[in-house]
Subunit: 162 residues, 2 copies
Amino acid sequence: MSDALHDFVEEFALVFESTGTPRIAGRILGWLMVCDPPEQSATQLAQALGASKASISTMTRVLAQGMLIERVPKRGSRQDFYRIRPGAWTDLTIKRLSALSIYTQLAEKGLMLMKTAPPEQRVRLEEMRDLFRFFELELRGVVERLERKQPSKTKTKVGASI
Amino acid sequence: MSDALHDFVEEFALVFESTGTPRIAGRILGWLMVCDPPEQSATQLAQALGASKASISTMTRVLAQGMLIERVPKRGSRQDFYRIRPGAWTDLTIKRLSALSIYTQLAEKGLMLMKTAPPEQRVRLEEMRDLFRFFELELRGVVERLERKQPSKTKTKVGASI
DNA sequence: AGCTTTGTTCAGTATTGACTAAACTTACAA
DNA sequence: TTGTAAGTTTAGTCAATACTGAACAAAGCT
């Protein structure tokens, strides 16, 4: 693995780390974005990234649960091979954007509690709620346009947790 | 501070914590969204949230730098009063969405490194780049429509770091 | 059966960072 | 000047957690 590529993977990992995932998960993702061949065994990953088998094992599991990577079977080998799941970025980003709706819910919950409060007390939460409702609405449009652009790739699954 | 309100503030803080900010920052924000009156002194915050003056001091500074709250001067008192900055949520969310462009840049940087690689090696990064370019473009539309909706509130400053 | 390769689990380490207490500063008031 | 009320800074504690090493498990090969 070349030095420049190593730096790229590291930067990738740092960006990813800033969103809450452990650094090794980001390294795996970054590496799987550029490696040759695109499928890599756990052992290869551990070697390329200088990480322990233990880390690779747990992180591949997490990433696979989060639908970012997938196990790919390989005839004649009992190693586990992993690769970036097609559509991973689309799904991940839409999932994260959808998560904004939690702020709508928060504002609504707060307004319930302040039912009897005078209007000037409520405006703060009302503005917040309206804003995030707007974003929710806009997101629907974005997803629709994206689906029109790449018919196969957008299949936002629910339940995955990254 | 009522029990239900206390729970709300705590939930608010937890949601916020999941995006990387320390819990007390979320508590301050949540409290400032519902408190009466909407301006609160550092001492009041410390008391209402059961936090140390030290935490309040550092966190109000961070939140103020991040343009989420603002100091409001009060005639005849030398206490510092804070309140939610109008437009805070709008600016914060747009800032976070704009931050997605870092992924475009990541993909582009990777493609630079893989200039000479065969196309089938590059598709992974190309798809990623195209996707985030699409999101960047869409975001511009969203911001535009938002500005039309609330002319005064969207003035996305740069440089603030939350 | 024994050996080797691969991956998983678990206990322990080490680092990060949120939070506080206490000392320090500033500013007003009597 | 002394006292009080507010906020800031700093040093230190505590908890969370990422990561590893080593023991373990499974699965093929000879």
